[in-house]
Amino acid sequence: MDNSYQEWKKLAKKEIRQEELDSLFWDTPEGIRIKPLYTAQDLSELTYTDTMPGLFPYIRGPRATMYVNKPWTIRQYAGFSTAEESNVFYKKNLEMGQKGLSVAFDLATHRGYDSDHERVMGDVGKAGVAIDSVEDMKILFSGIPLDKMSVSMTMNGAVLPVLAAFIVAAEEQGVAVEQLSGTIQNDVLKEFMVRNTYIYPPQTSMRIVGDIIAYTAKNMPRFNSISISGYHMYEAGADSVHELAFTIADGLEYVKEALSRGLAVDDFAPRLSFFFAIGMNFYMEIAKLRAARLLWAEMMAQFEPKNPQSSMLRTHCQTSGWSLTEQDPYNNLIRTTVEAMAAVLGGTQSLHTNAMDEAIALPSENSSRWARNTQIILQEEAQICRVVDPFGGSYFMESLTHSLAHEARKVILEMQNLGGMAKAIELGIPKMCIEKCAAERQARIDSGKDTIVGVNRYQVDKEDEIETLEVDNSRVREQQIQRLQAIRKSRSEADVKEALNAITQAVKDNQGNLLDLAVKAMRLRATVGEVSEAIALVCGRYEAKNNLISGVYAKGFLGDQEFMDIKQSVCDFNQIHGRNPRIYIAKMGQDGHDRGAKIVATGFSDLGFDVDIGPLFQTPEEVAQMALEADVHAIGVSSLAAGHKTLVPRLIECLNALGASEILVFVGGVIPRSDYEFLRQKGVASIFGPGTPVIQCAKEVLKLIEAKGKD
C-alpha cells in the first residue's frame, strides 16, 4: 500500500509538473484541509469505521433500511396571503405528490401581532400565511385530515398561541390531540443568534420551550416538540462546522432545560428533531449530516438514555436559499438539484427543495412544481433510494465526517466552557462568529475568490424576466381585520379575559403549563396577539443589542485595486464635504433577517463610510426620524420579506413630510425586478438585488450622494 502511494505521488507530480503537491490541497472555509487523494490509510486513523445504519453511532443513518424501505418525505415549505389561498395551494400540492405539509407563517404572526396592529402594516400575508385565531387555522386545514397528515410548523416567537390554535382546530375537526403528528420548530435559541423572530427575553423564551416539550411529551406522542435548527445559521453565513456545533450545542441546552423540569430523558428525547441547510459544497454537506448524527449520539450518552431513539438524530433539510441567485435564475434549478442530492446522500428524513425564484419572490406555481419534481425525479427516476448510505466506507467521506465532527467538538467544548449555549448567546459570541463567517464569505464572492456562476463569472448580457407571485398585502390585511372584528364580537369577552389573566399569572408565578393555558384561551377565541401580549405584560418584548465587528470584509480585499479606488473616493469626499458619507441602514417591519444589513454595514464602514445601524422591526416613521437626527446622506433599506412596496414609499413620504427629502433612499435585498419601476417612481434612488457585490453598492451610493451635492 505504502509503496503504491509513493508511486502515485510520483505520477501526480509529473502530471502537474511541480516538485510538490501543495497546489492540489484545498483549505475549506471551515479550516479543514482536503487532500487530493484518500486511501485506506486514512480509514485506519478513524474512531468509527464499518458501522451499521440504525445502530450506534448512526453515522450511516437512523434507520436500518433507510430509503430502500421508505423514501424521504417530500415536504415543501409554503404559505402566503390568507388561510383560504394557502389551503387551496396545499391541497393542490398534495394531489401532485407532496407527502407532508410545512406551514410558513407571515411575520406578523411570528412576532405575535394580530393583523390589525399598527407595527405590521407591511407584513401581513407576506412571506407566509396570516393567522390570528383558531378560525384562520381551521380554514388553513379545511379538508385536510389532521389525524393522517403530518404538519410541520415553522414557529418560534408566537409558538404558544399558534400551536394551541392548531390543537384546537384539530379538536374541532374531531381529531384528538394524541393523534396529531408533525413538528413545531420551537427553537428559540437560534432566533437570538440569527433570524430574530423572538418575542420575549431569553429566560421566558426558554421556559416556553420547556413547557411545550413537557406538554407534548405527555399529550402528543407522535409530535416533534422542537426542530433544532442550524438552517438559519448557515443561511446567515455560518460555515458547516459552526452550523453543526451551534445546533448540537443548542440541542444539549434544550435537553438540560427539559431535564430540569423533572422529565426523564427518554420521555422527550426521541421527539427532538433537527433541521439543517444544504449548500453547494457537495461533499461537505453530505459529511455534515453524517457528523451530526455521530455527534448527537456521542453527546446524548452523558444523559444515559435507555431508549436508543433518544440518541438518534433525525433531521429535515432544506436546500440553501443563500446559494440562489437573482442573476440567470434558471441556474438555481441546477443548484437545488445538486444540494438535494447531497441531502439525500447524507441521509435526511425529509427535504424541502427551494424554488428557482425564491431569491426574488414567493414561488410561482411553475417554480413550485419544478422544485417538487426535483425530488420526485431523484426518487423515482434516478434510483437513488435503492441502497442505504452509498458513501459509507468511502475513504474520503468517512475521513471528512470525522474531521468535521472533530472541529465541531472543539466549538461545542468552547461553548460549554462559557457555561453552555444560552450563556454564550447572552454574551453574543455565537452571533459574532456567524457574522464573521458571513462577511468573509461575502468578501470571497465579491472579490471573485469563490465562483458564483452568473454573478461573478460567466454572466449573461441580458437577464430573462421571470414570472413571480405577488400578494396584495392590503387586501389580505383588510380581510384579516374583518375576521378579527367578527371574532371579537361573537366571543365571551369575560371568559377570554379570564383565560388571558391566567396566562399572565402563570408567567408571573412561574407555575403551570403555558401551552395548556394557551389552548384554553385559544379555544375561547383569544387571538395570537392577545395571548402574546398576556405574556409580554410580565416580561416585556425583548430587544437584542447589535454587535458588529469591522475590518472583516476589508480583509478579503487585500491589495484589490477596485476596493482601494472606492476607499480613495470616500477620502476625497471627506476632503470636499468635511465629513465621511453617512448612511443609515434600516430594517423595517417584522423582517428579522439581518445578515444582508450587517454585511453591508461592515463593508461600507470598511470602505470609510460612517454607518448608522438602526434597530430591528422599525416603522417607516421611526426610521425617518432617526435618520434625520443623525443627519445622514442616505438610508439603505434592507428588505427580505416582501414588505418593500408598502414600507419604502411610506418612508419616503415621512422624509418629505419632515423636510428631509434630500436624504436618498436605497433598497437592497429580495426585490423582484418587476417592482423596480414602481420603487423608482416612488423616489427610490437605486435598487440592489441579491448578489450585488457590496463594493458595487458603495460605488453607486457614493456617486448618487455626490450628484446630490449635499454638504
Binding site: D610, V611, Q625
Partner: protein
C-alpha cells in the same frame, strides 16, 4: 446665509435644523468652521439663557451605557425635561469609517418628543468630534434642551476631554471588574461625581462588593470638588433598580452647584478649558505654517546627527 437659516431653525425648535447644525459644527472644512462660528455667535446673542445640566457619562464597552442612558433619559423626559444624548462612537484607524449606534442606539429616547439622540464618529482625537461636542452642547441648549448627556467610551483621553466640558461626571462600572481595578480605575474615579455599579440584576452581591471597594478608595484619595463627596450607587439600568436614587442624587448635585455660585465657577472653567484646547490647535497650525522652513531644516540636521534634540528645538524657537 447657512448660519442664519440654521439659527432660525434651531430657535424655532426644528429638529432637522439642529441635526444639520451639528454636522456643520463637526465638519473639518475651514469654510464650514466659519459658518459654524457665525451660527454659534447668532445663537449666543439670540437664545434665551436657561438653567441646564451637562452630564458626562463614561464606562468601558459592555458596561451598559446605552441602556443606562435610555432608562435615565426617559425618566427625565417623562418628567418634562428636554433630554439630549451626544454619543461618540470610535472610528476605525484603518478605514476612517465607523459603525454608529450599534451599541448606542437608544430608540425609545430618540422617538420621545422630549428626546434627541445623536451618535457621532470620533474621527482622530485632535480637532476631532469629541472636541466639538462643546459646541454641539451649546447648539442643543439653544434649541431648548436642559439635560445634555455626553457619552464617552472609557478609554484613552476622551474622558478627560469630556470631563472638561460637563457640570457633572458619572462613571459606570461593572461589578466583576477583577484585578485590574487597583491602578486603572483610580484615574477615572478621581473625576467621578457619581459611580453607578451597574447590572445588579445579574449579581447583587458582586455589585455591593464593588461599591464597598469604591467607597474605601474614596476614603484614601483626594477628590477635586470641595463640599461634594462622590456618591457610589448600585443598580440596574435593565430593571431600573437604583435609577430613582440616582435621579435624586443628580437633583441634589444640581442644588450643590447652585450654592455659593459654584456652577458659575464650573462653567467659567469650562470656557477657559475650551479656549485653551482650541487655542492649542489653532496655535499649532499657525506655528507649523510660519515656521515650516526652520522646522524642516532643524529636523534634517537632527536626523543627520549634526545637532541634539535640544539644539533643534532652540533653532526652531529662535529661527525665522
Amino acid at each position: 446665509m447657512l448660519a442664519q437659516e440654521l439659527a432660525l431653525g434651531i430657535l424655532s425648535q426644528n429638529r432637522r435644523s439642529l441635526a444639520r447644525a451639528i454636522t456643520l459644527v463637526e465638519s473639518s472644512l475651514p469654510k464650514h468652521r466659519q459658518a459654524a462660528t457665525e451660527l454659534i455667535r447668532i445663537l449666543k446673542s439670540q437664545a434665551s439663557p436657561r438653567e441646564t445640566l451637562r452630564i458626562g457619562v463614561s464606562g468601558v464597552p459592555g458596561v451598559g451605557k446605552s441602556t443606562f442612558l435610555e432608562t435615565v433619559g426617559l425618566a427625565m423626559a417623562n418628567a418634562n425635561h428636554k433630554v439630549c444624548v451626544l454619543a461618540v462612537d470610535p472610528s476605525s484607524q484603518i478605514s476612517g469609517g465607523s459603525i454608529l449606534g450599534d451599541k448606542t442606539r437608544m430608540q425609545k429616547l430618540s422617538l420621545h418628543p422630549n428626546g434627541f439622540v445623536r451618535p457621532s464618529p470620533a474621527r482622530d482625537t485632535l480637532g476631532g468630534t469629541a472636541l466639538r461636542s462643546r459646541e454641539v452642547i451649546s447648539l442643543c441648549e439653544a434649541f431648548g434642551f436642559d439635560r445634555i448627556f455626553v457619552e464617552t467610551v472609557g478609554v484613552g483621553q476622551s474622558e478627560t476631554t469630556v470631563y472638561s466640558m460637563v457640570d457633572v461626571f458619572l462613571v459606570l462600572l461593572l461589578p466583576n471588574a477583577g484585578d485590574d481595578l487597583q491602578g486603572i480605575k483610580k484615574g477615572i474615579m478621581e473625576l467621578a461625581d457619581f459611580i453607578f455599579v451597574n447590572k445588579s440584576d445579574l449579581d447583587p452581591h458582586a455589585c455591593n462588593r464593588m461599591a464597598k471597594y469604591c467607597e474605601s478608595v474614596y476614603e484614601l484619595i483626594h477628590t477635586p470638588r470641595e463640599g461634594w463627596k462622590p456618591r457610589v450607587m448600585t443598580g440596574s439600568s435593565l430593571s431600573s433598580e437604583g435609577v430613582d436614587e440616582l435621579l435624586r442624587g443628580l437633583m441634589q448635585f444640581e442644588q450643590f452647584l447652585l450654592q455659593n455660585s459654584y456652577k458659575e465657577t464650573v462653567r467659567r472653567t469650562q470656557k477657559q478649558d475650551a479656549f485653551l484646547q482650541e487655542l492649542k490647535i489653532v496655535a499649532w497650525d499657525q506655528f507649523l505654517k510660519t515656521k515650516n522652513n526652520v522646522i524642516n531644516k532643524a529636523s534634517s540636521s537632527l536626523i543627520e546627527d549634526k545637532i541634539s534634540v535640544a539644539d533643534a528645538l532652540w533653532q526652531v524657537i529662535e529661527g525665522e
